[in-house]
């Protein structure tokens, strides 16, 4: 069974077609990058897949179940593009993760030993063990991203959606973040759906790429799919030579 199957998906908002006839599937354990210019519908696609916005036509199945199915919540992780929250929220990293750990209905400030151990283990995986007692609002962009990854994998999901996760993070933070995601992919057989503007990242980390511009322009392995013509058609003439520098870089 495919980890993710999207068939003929169409999203229309106020009469505007944001996505038209999107069809693709993703096998378990693959890293799939979604690329496209601003306004191409990348975030809309991920939000529609996750059931955060309605779609007018088509179907989305995650592990054979429709988006929004209660059973899926523990199998899907999500790190949004820009996390909107009150920075003065007096909430520690440990508390945030503790409140995400099931069961949902339990006395809030009673921490069970196994929950504590689970949280420490998660923070170790993402390299954020020293952030356990830090306030969420005081974290840097890179630190927050690692904590949000820890939150996304609390329930040991099979598929992780990352919406431009390293935007606003410095170069070192981006490297560290992508290494972490790849380690999770390899060690936990985690399927990763990654929105990225950075073609370098796509070449280095993605098994497959989906080129989006309201419609699915192309899909396949990055080295084979991202030809000069394809990049020009998606991003315009200015990006035409980029592919060569990326190959040279590799």
């Amino acid at each position: 069974m495919d980890a993710l199957s999207v068939d003929n998906l169409c999203v229309t908002v106020s009469g505007r077609h944001l996505l038209e006839n999107i069809t693709f599937s993703v096998k378990q354990g693959r890293v799939v990058a979604i690329i496209g210019p601003n306004g191409a519908g990348k975030t809309t696609l991920v939000r529609a897949i996750l059931g955060l916005i309605p779609y007018q036509q088509g179907s989305v199945l995650i592990y054979g179940l429709p988006a929004g199915d209660g059973e899926l919540s523990s199998r899907v992780g999500y790190v949004p593009q820009k996390l909107e929250f009150d920075r003065s929220f007096p909430l520690t990293v440990s508390e945030l993760l503790h409140f995400t750990v099931p069961p949902a209905f339990s006395f809030p400030f009673h921490k069970r030993k196994h929950e504590d151990e689970h949280i420490v283990r998660l923070l170790e995986i993402v390299g954020a063990q020293d952030l356990k007692d830090r306030n969420i609002g005081g974290l840097s962009g890179g630190e927050l991203q690692r904590v949000m990854i820890a939150k996304a994998i609390v329930n040991d999901p099979g598929i992780l959606f990352l919406d431009e996760p390293s935007s606003g993070v410095d170069i070192e933070g981006q490297e560290r973040f992508h290494d972490l995601v790849m380690r999770l992919n390899k060690e936990h057989d985690l399927t990763v759906i990654l929105i990225s503007h950075d073609l370098n990242v796509v070449y280095r980390f993605a098994d497959d790429v989906l080129c989006l511009n309201r419609k699915l322009v192309c899909s396949g392995k990055p080295a084979e799919t991202l030809t000069d013509e394809v990049i020009k058609s998606i991003y315009g003439e200015m990006m035409g030579g980029y592919i060569h520098s990326c190959h040279d870089h590799d």
């Binding site: 999500y78 996390l83 006395f107 809030p108």
Partner: protein
């Protein structure tokens, strides 16, 4: 000392003390979610919708507590529904509900014959007029609200932190938001008799906001807010008796004093 024990021996003072402790714990507990979700104006609209409920109750000759609770719950759901289903912003919907409630309440009161001093007492509240029945109602609501919030605490907190992440994590955001609005509506309404419609929001907001100034984690937030709420209630009641001032405003001014003090103190480690 003799004066204090003499005052405490009066049943109406005892009831007022019990009420101030209960409301002092209950209002800030709910208030933490109101402050974190930036819904202060929402709780204000709810208290004013209770005014319309009181007027309707008086006109129809039904129990005023029940009519105010019912109206507050209806208006809170209407606000939630319109905010979700229309393109109107949340604060626009609240503003319409707020002014509509006050206007309809005043119109209905104007239609009634004679002067109803009891209705206008809801505007300013009177903790010293709390009856045994009021205490039972506050206690019932406090148990219902706090137990519900504790049982579903993780879900409420996840939604407060980020609605979309909560949805992806399988939480029924709409259900819990309506539940939260329902709880805010009944808590606001049962607290009306303490400080009145005009000031009831401050019981919910101010201790929670003061606690947010100094708390560095959720445990501290909930502990400090209840501590400040109880302290404001007891000190305000004692101050009003001692200074012969109105109890509601005195309680609120004590909580404002605590809030100002917390502004000058950093977050606890």
């Amino acid at each position: 000392m003799t004066m204090i024990s003499e005052y405490i021996s009066y049943p109406f003072i005892q009831r007022a003390l019990i009420a101030s402790v209960m409301v002092g714990i209950l209002c800030p507990f709910i208030g933490n979610f109101v402050v974190l979700r930036r819904m202060s104006f929402f709780s204000d609209a709810i208290s004013h919708s209770a005014f319309a409920g009181i007027a309707v109750g008086a006109l129809l000759g039904i129990d005023l507590s029940m009519s105010s609770i019912l109206m507050a719950v209806i208006i809170s759901f209407v606000i939630a529904f319109l905010s979700e289903r229309t393109s109107l912003s949340h604060d626009t919907v609240i503003g319409v509900a707020f002014s509509g409630s006050i206007a309809s309440g005043m119109l209905i009161m104007g239609m009634m014959k004679g002067y109803r001093a009891d209705l206008f007492s809801y505007l300013f509240g009177d903790i010293l007029a709390i009856t045994q029945r009021d205490l039972y109602i506050i206690l019932s609501v406090a148990i219902l609200a706090i137990v519900t919030m504790l049982v579903f605490f993780k879900s409420f907190l996840q939604i407060t932190f980020n609605r979309e992440l909560a949805r992806v994590e399988g939480i029924n955001v709409r259900l819990f938001e309506y539940l939260l609005f329902f709880i805010i509506a009944i808590v606001v309404t049962v607290s009306l008799k303490i400080v009145g419609i005009i000031l009831v929001t401050s019981l919910i907001i101010v201790p929670a906001a003061a606690a947010k100034n100094v708390a560095s984690n959720m445990r501290q937030l909930f502990s400090f807010s209840s501590l400040f709420g109880v302290l404001s209630g007891i000190a305000g009641l004692a101050g009003s008796v001692y200074l012969d001032t109105a109890s509601g405003p005195t309680i609120v001014m004590i909580s404002i004093g605590i809030f100002i003090l917390t502004l000058f103190r950093g977050r606890a480690v």
